[in-house]
Every structure is written in C-alpha cells, then in structure tokens.
C-alpha cells in the first residue's frame, strides 16, 4: 500500500478539489492519500467529495495555527 502526498497550499478553488480527485484516481485501493492545503472551503469540501465517492477520511488536522490543513484519505 503506497502513500501519496499532494501539496495544494496556496491554491484556490477548484484546484485543491481537482488535484485531490486526480490523486485518488491514480491511487490504488488501500493507498493512503494525504492532501495539504490552505484554501478554507476545500477543508470541508474534500471530505464531502470523499463521502459522495464512498471513500474514508481518516483524519483532518489543522496546522500552522489554523492557516493550513492536512486531510488523510484511504483510497
């Protein structure tokens, strides 16, 4: 099981969502996809997208005093 990290810090709508989807599409079932970003809306919309696609969000962590976030998804 591989671990894939994508860095979308500084990117705005719709790039974090789109890059997350691209990474999930390339990953194999069981892989861990970690998304690092700063765009506030994507912090809640990436988990919404995962839920719609039946994928499990393992963890959402705020970093840098709330300016950054990190979302872990099991493909």
């Amino acid at each position: 099981m591989a671990e894939v990290e994508i860095d979308v810090r500084g990117q705005t709508c719709p790039v974090p969502l789109v890059e997350c989807r691209k990474a999930l599409k390339k990953a194999s079932p069981g892989d861990l996809v970690i998304v690092k970003g700063t765009h506030p809306a994507s912090r809640k919309e990436i988990p919404m997208a995962c839920e719609a696609m039946g994928l499990k969000v393992l963890d959402i962590e705020d970093k840098e005093g709330g300016k950054e976030w990190e979302i872990k998804i099991r493909r």
């Binding site: 705005t12 719709p14 789109v18 997350c20 919404m48 719609a52």
Partner: protein, 139 residues
C-alpha cells in the same frame, strides 16, 4: 449509471467560461460525470488560441476592466482556463461542439481544438446528455 452534470456554455465571456469550467471540474472532483455543450459565443472559445480571449460579461470597458480582473485573478492564484480545461479532460469530462454554430459562424473543424472535443452534435445530443442528469445549467 452515475450522477451527472451537464452544462450548456452559450456565452464566450471570460468570466462565464471560468464559471462553466470550475463547476464542471467540481462535479468531476466530487465523483459525478460532467459534460459541457459549447454553442454560439461559447463555441468561439474552442477556436485555437481563443480559450481565454473572451471579454468580461460586465465592466469590460474596452478590455480595461478585463485586464484589472485578470491581474486580480493572478494575484489570487486562480488557475488558467487552459489548466482547468486540461484537468477537465484528464478527469474524464466530455466536450460537445454545436454543429449549427459552426455553420452559422463559418467555422471548420481544423480551426477548433479538436483534441478537446469528444462529440459534434445538435440539440438532440444535449437533451440526450441532460435526460438523466442531476444538474444542468445554461451559462
């Protein structure tokens, strides 16, 4: 069959082309299928080198307003239309080009970005796409 978003892009205005591509990419990113039907002024944006050449829908001011918005978009790190189109295609988005518009505007296939276009069609193609769509928009 999965959920689907179908957008008619009638406008060739830069800001509206952004709306269409952002919504379509959002739909794909959230696990839906997505297609965009390019017609009338929208189809002009599929001409080679024209994707980001549309005016602003409001306050264009002979291109001055457009320039200002473009600068602000760059500052906000907004993705280019070319990038959004490439992401749309990579995620499996479908582009339909209106044949009647081509006839009216005297366009040939060679003038268009055919690498993006999946289908050439008319109203029937849109209805067939939209028949089972959950979201359909006219922009």
């Amino acid at each position: 069959m999965g959920e689907k978003t179908v957008i008619i892009l009638h406008s060739g205005d830069m800001d509206k082309v952004y709306s269409a591509l952002i919504i379509a990419n959002g739909a794909l990113a959230m696990g839906m299928e997505a297609s965009i039907y390019f017609t009338f002024w929208g189809l002009m944006r599929l001409k080679k080198g024209e994707l980001d050449k549309g005016p602003l829908s409001k306050m264009n001011m002979l291109g001055l307003g457009r320039q200002m918005i473009k600068r602000r978009m760059d500052k906000a790190n907004v993705a280019s239309l070319e990038r959004l189109m490439n992401d749309f295609k990579e995620l499996g988005g479908k582009i339909i080009a209106c044949e009647m518009t081509m006839e009216i505007m005297g366009l040939s296939k060679e003038e268009l970005r055919t690498e993006w276009i999946d289908e050439w069609g008319a109203v029937g193609s849109y209805i067939q796409e939209a028949r089972n769509a959950n979201v359909t928009l006219f922009i």
